[in-house]
Amino acid sequence: MMDAAPLLNVLIKYWLPFIAINVVIPALLAPLLDGIERRVRARIQCRRGPPILQTWYDLVKLFRKGAVTGGPIIFRLAPYIAFTVSILTLSLIPTLLNASLSFLGDTIVFMYLLAVPSVIISIGSIYTGSPLASVGSCREVSLWMAYELVFALSVATLAIDRSSLLLRNILPPYPPLHPSTILAIAIIAFLTYAEGGRLPYEIPEAEPELAGGIVLEYGGAELGLVKYALLVKRITLSTLLIDLILPRTWLTSILRSKMWFLGIGQVVVSATYISLLVILSITYSAIEALYGRLRLDQALSVLKKSVIIAGVAVLAALMGY
């Protein structure tokens, strides 16, 4: 009891605000960004499109419907695990605040946690025995392995360049901006697009082919959680890209030295972060609207090429470029 009090104090003083600002707000923002994306896509298709809040409406409706899914336990649990993990992943990188949970090897943990939601849902779907869902799962897993490889190589490039596995350390500013760093960031930018399950890489769900693929068997709140987990994953990926290009600490310190008000730097960074998120969403959705779906083998051949490029980046980083 005696020891718990200061811990609780720390929790209330630092952790709760951190979680509230850095995790909850972006998580709440995620469906909103999806609303923007849907609207942008609609506009490119010359139609009015749904209200910005539409994704929220959808999720609220799904949650109000309650749990409706039956079946094997792993299948039923998968959405909860997926959602929790996706929130955890989000807490590992700086979002609104410059801070994040940071520990040795967090880069690797981040990489793996990012993949957990789709993998766990794939496993759950295989257990349903539905053929379409299993085909979707197979596709999801093949894609995931390709993504993971490319992702690992790009992160390795950055880690080698900065000689650190702490996520905090591989983020900007990059005092010497090496070509390998630029290449790695470019590849990660591509991955944040593709791994977010956007066309032409939206292959596992593939509505017209697999009727929803891996999410086929979910309904009600579980479906909401799966969808929400995907949205959180998307915002995590976008955040990662923003973190890699936005020199947060540099921006904060500059502003702090120039301005009388201490917090202003953080506020500017947060605002920049959110506007970058919106810009990214608009760009991504505009790109998405202009693409058709690739076949799995075609997508894998594109990813193969990016593995080669990422390999080149690693070699370059090793040689000090």
Binding site: R43, I44, Q45, C46, R47, R48
Partner: protein, 167 residues
């Protein structure tokens, strides 16, 4: 890049979505919408019932109440307009109304109940007053009385007359 052409299309055509249901959409004047029976004109002759390919129109005689029901079930109607072609008095027409949805299927029914003439011989209702009136107009005053006799009794009457004549 060919794809960017689609963004150009958006800039060129803009949002084409109509505002319905907040603003009404026009229907062309040729539009074949909800068939409406003009209950003041309908004779209850059943020409439309015979013409209707979908059996959306039906006719039923309530002998006890002496009412002929012409029933239109727009939930079965195929909006072909054959009833309007067939109607001798133009009592049924296709309107331009298309907002026909209802939460209960009974709301999709239009019924016209017409009083029936009781046969002056057997007392059984057999046709509507309006139809009789229409038929009478075509006939000379002397023949008109016969229209108040139902077909069966008319057959009997003819039989009686011929046998009487022979006798």
């Amino acid at each position: 890049m060919g794809r960017l052409g689609f963004i150009k299309d958006y800039l060129r055509y803009g949002v084409v979505t109509e505002k319905y249901p907040y603003e009404p959409v026009p229907t062309p004047e040729t539009f074949r919408g909800k068939p409406v029976i003009d209950s003041s004109k309908c004779l209850g002759c059943g020409a439309c019932v015979n013409a209707c390919p979908a059996n959306a129109l039906s006719i039923e005689d309530d002998l006890r109440g002496g009412i002929r029901w012409v029933r239109l079930f727009i939930g079965r109607c195929i909006y072909c307009g054959r009833c309007a072609d067939a109607c001798p008095v133009g009592a049924i027409e296709l309107s331009r109304e298309f907002e026909l949805s209802a939460l209960e299927s009974k709301d999709l029914i239009q019924e016209v109940g017409l009083r029936m003439v009781k046969c002056v011989i057997c007392g059984k209702p057999f046709t509507t007053y309006r139809l009789v009136r229409e038929v009478m107009r075509e006939l000379s005053p002397d023949e008109r009385v016969l229209t108040l006799v139902c077909p069966e009794c008319r057959a009997k009457l003819t039989a009686v007359n011929t046998s009487f004549a022979r006798w």
